[in-house]
């Protein structure tokens, strides 16, 4: 998937992308290309990247990279793939009924789901909201269990 979507391996790259994506949703996928679920998500991201290009930028981040570990720790990424959303260098949360509002954990069932989520975030951000609720029905949101940290 790396030849299809920009893949970031350095913290500096991630920084500059977060800082310089203005008035657009930045979708950062944390994962590794060897993971099957990641590949599925990548496929969906790649297929819809062009459709959302007017209001969103999609980039992949390699969690195995040494330089990225700061972000992996900071974003509390425990499952891959995890997708984090930014708007004007501000973190956007999404209440999807799961334990983690700060990121999207897992993949999307289909292309339209991803586009809906990004659109909801964009619309929310344009109205000044830092958290939006998920537009998808609960059965199409991947479930996961979050363990309390340090337990």
């Amino acid at each position: 998937m790396e030849y299809l979507l920009p893949t970031l391996r350095e913290k500096r790259e991630v920084d500059s992308l977060i800082r310089d994506t203005l008035d657009k949703v930045l979708v950062l996928r944390f994962g590794r290309p060897s993971d099957a679920v990641c590949l599925q998500l990548d496929d969906i991201l790649y297929k819809s990247a062009r459709d959302v290009s007017r209001f969103a930028t999609v980039a992949l981040v390699d969690v195995d990279s040494e330089d990225i570990q700061v972000y992996v720790k900071y974003f509390d990424i425990t499952f891959i793939p995890s997708t984090v959303f930014f708007f004007n260098a501000h973190h956007m949360k999404m209440d999807s009924g799961s334990a983690d509002h700060t990121k999207w954990v897992g993949t999307f069932m289909r292309k339209q789901d991803f586009i809906d989520v990004v659109e909801a975030i964009y619309r929310g951000a344009m109205k000044g909201k830092l958290i939006v609720s998920c537009p998808l029905p609960p059965e199409r949101i991947p479930k996961f269990q979050l363990l309390y940290k340090d337990v």
Partner: protein, 426 residues
Amino acid sequence: MNQKKKKNSSEQQQFEYCEVCRLNHNQGRRHNYFPSHKTSLATLLTRFQSKLSDVKFFLKTPMLLRPEHAHQNRLWCPFCNSDVLELDSHLACGNAIEHLASVEHWKSVKGFMWKYGGGMDRVDLFRISEADYAKWEKKCKSLKTEAAKVESFGPAFEPLNNIHNELNDDYVNSFQQNNVNFLNFSVTNGVVPLHSYTNERAQVSGSVLSSASEAGPSLHNMSGGIQVRDAKYLKNSSDYMENHHCSNSLARECSSYGYLTSRSVYPGARIANGEDISLGFPKLTQISSTSQEAIEGNVHTGAPPPWFDATKGNQPDLAWKPELRDHVSSKAGKSSKLNPKRVGAAWAERRKLELELERKGGHVNNNFDADWLPNFGRVWQSGTRKESRKEFQTENKATHKADHQSEMLMPLQPYVSKRMRRDASE
């Protein structure tokens, strides 16, 4: 005289569609001289010209196109109102170049310019001349013969592994079985499903199935009618029903299978820590956040010296610049329309100004700290996002200090007064 007036009025009433402005108007030829039309025409032409410059790059240096990139590589020709696809060509922008060199395109460019007033002298900018086209064809021929030579030694570009090849076999097998079932089934209905292995398609074919089953008296009857070799068929249709909130009691019964099915839809994920999160949904890989502190190498261990690292760090900035530049310039006029209360509006304005300044030449003090982090609301934290960032930074520093207490070397810098710094930044 009277006739002329009549003619005028009838002309005024005739509405025509302006493709450039995308509106119907009854102004006749006058419309071409309206400022709004002129600006939108200019933007359209510049946008197309930027795309053309990409194509012209491939005109100079023809390249082979990988089949998986083919659908990305396409060109919308606003003059001919047609999408030039590259699905069947082996060369990058091959069809686009052919199209741009064709006589039809030449004619429609002329027609377009005449109709919308772009200036007939610029017609040549939007096409590829025959001489260039002939050169390109020659180059392509040589390229193809070369490729053939290489292939005779060994496959030059074998089909790249896509997702489906990388999946475990039984997964693919199960889908093949499913698909076979769908085929058997839907042929009886006269509906041929899309034959493909991707998950989305499988869902589609599942919907074909269950829509049929809805039409039937009950699922059991239907399944009785057809030989169901695989239990997955039932599951698939139940998954569909669940997705669509079927109020059918049968669907509710089946909905317990829904998770099972969706799991079967997902390829089995490997679990790194061997820990199974069996909540019914796709098993996600859990990555251990063990602190892999960067082992800072030195010259003796073969690590690049720090100044090399610094130049490397600057490159990504440059790589992202071109996109940004268009972005900034295109958004410049738009920003007034954006909601001033949107998230990070202040940041966006500030950053835009900085980028604008940078574009004008002056190297603004853009080198942000290497430890810069965005505000991020963490999972287990309450309070503002800034607070959680601060907390993380203190955490991070604490661990860092514990690790290399001795290695912490403060770089010595000459004292620069605050006023001096402010002056320099301005």
